[in-house]
């Protein structure tokens, strides 16, 4: 790891000031992606702004018809939260299956979302649930926020402060995970709010998380795994690597979508 100067602000506002003032500064959340990257010398920021002491970035609250989660809330906290379990159980389930128990003690929702790893779990939840990413400057819909492989709409000096999830009537998440890395080979989050249905796929797309409109249309007619009988996602634009080729991943999209709907409908 190359040397850096270390800063530990106690509020998001202080963090933003430091981020603007220090040249080549990077934000540190749980550190479970940034630190390994720095250890491999693939990243060498001159300054680290550690968000660990920003109390205003932590916590889970139910605000009207939304669950609002602070950016520095850990996966373990989301998984164990009674509010999240009651409001959107599929979201708590998703958080409880990220990485392993120890990674979940450090990893945060803000860090995961900002990194937009194409195989990360949270992006699928944000896209399917129609979440809003709140930063120190503005509010962005999930669609606006995730712009490509490891790419987001975040600008220089912008910090995610919260993610707001509107409540839905039904939701489910199914992931076929890589047994070594525990990242999603394919993960599918389905959500139903009124007559609207969204299906978001992670782990599979060459450009990161994406929606599957054909499956959404079929599920709007009837929200049941049966509606997807014989449904297959094409393998164009789907990732292939040593773990699975594009055809295999495309097949998994169908399988995981049916499992997610089954979970959402309690079948």
């Amino acid at each position: 790891m190359y040397a850096f100067t270390y800063h530990k602000p106690t509020s998001a506002r202080q963090a933003a000031t430091l981020l603007a003032k220090k040249e080549d500064a990077k934000l540190l959340a749980g550190g479970h992606t940034l630190l390994p990257t720095m250890k491999q010398r693939l990243a060498s920021p001159a300054a680290i702004v550690d968000l660990g002491a920003c109390a205003d970035l932590k916590g889970i609250t139910l605000k009207g018809r939304n669950i609002v989660i602070g950016a520095m809330t850990t996966h373990a906290e989301v998984a164990a939260s009674a509010e999240v379990q009651a409001a959107i159980p599929a979201l708590a389930y998703l958080a409880s299956h990220i990485g392993d128990p120890h990674v979940r003690h450090r990893g945060t929702i803000g860090g995961s979302v900002a990194n937009n790893d194409p195989a990360a779990d949270y992006p699928a939840a944000l896209l399917a649930l129609g979440a809003t990413v709140i930063t120190n400057k503005r509010k962005l819909t999930a669609e606006e926020f995730f712009t490509g492989l490891y790419e987001t709409a975040l600008e220089e000096g912008e910090i995610i402060t919260k993610v707001s999830f509107p409540l839905v009537s039904k939701a489910g998440y199914a992931k076929f995970r890589n047994p070594a890395s525990r990242y999603a080979m394919v993960g599918v989050f389905v959500a139903k709010r009124g007559s609207d249905v969204r299906v978001a796929v992670t782990g599979a797309g060459e450009g990161g998380v994406f929606r599957w409109p054909e499956a959404e249309t079929a599920l709007k007619v009837r929200f049941s795994p049966k509606s997807l009988d014989g449904f297959k996602h094409g393998s164009k634009g789907i990732n292939g690597d040593i773990h699975a080729d594009p055809e295999y991943r495309a097949h998994l999209i169908g399988v995981m979508t049916r499992q997610a709907v089954a979970q959402a409908t309690g079948k």
Partner: protein
């Protein structure tokens, strides 16, 4: 250089360190607590597990300065007054190790499991929660047995779910 102050196994420690010092480095090299191991060094294997404020965390992927002010428990902090912690005793009794390299991490993981899930752990739960610990010798069978027994023993011995050191 940055100052870091921690409580490690109940003792207050303070040092001037380079900010890039990893927690595992600080424990092993500054404090000479070499029970915490570096295995994969990529947060996969869990040999470096320690408890930070009662929660198991991979010390190879945590900066020491990040946890300034925290209470850290390492494998050295489990045994009390020369007597093994019930989980350590269970690993010995059930031969939950061969080469022993992963063992400190396995035991810290096991105690964390009891902290989170209580004293009655079934095999499926134990195997799932051992996701973050890799053993290359045992095939896990005896580790799973040891954790189930150790969890029960912790209950019987009245060891509070948090370690005595905290």
């Amino acid at each position: 250089m940055t100052t870091v102050s921690l409580t490690v196994n109940g003792k207050a420690v303070s040092a001037n360190i380079d900010p890039r010092t990893l927690l595992v480095q600080f424990l092993r090299e500054n404090l000479r607590l070499t029970g915490t191991h570096v295995g994969c060094d990529t947060s996969q294997c869990g040999a470096c597990l320690v408890h930070i404020d009662g929660k198991a965390v991979k010390a190879c992927t945590t900066l020491a300065v990040s946890v300034d002010g925290a209470a850290i428990t390492t494998i050295e902090g489990l045994a009390q007054d020369g007597k093994l912690h019930p989980m350590q005793e269970a690993f010995r009794e059930h031969h939950g190790l061969q080469c022993g390299f992963c063992t400190p991490g396995m035991i810290m993981s096991a105690v964390d499991m009891v902290n989170r899930r209580g004293h009655e752990l079934d095999e499926k739960t134990i195997r799932e929660d051992l996701d973050g610990n890799i053993c290359r010798c045992t095939g896990y069978h005896n580790i799973v047995k040891a954790i189930a027994a150790g969890a029960e023993a912790m209950g019987k011995a009245g060891v509070t779910t948090r370690q005595a050191a905290e």
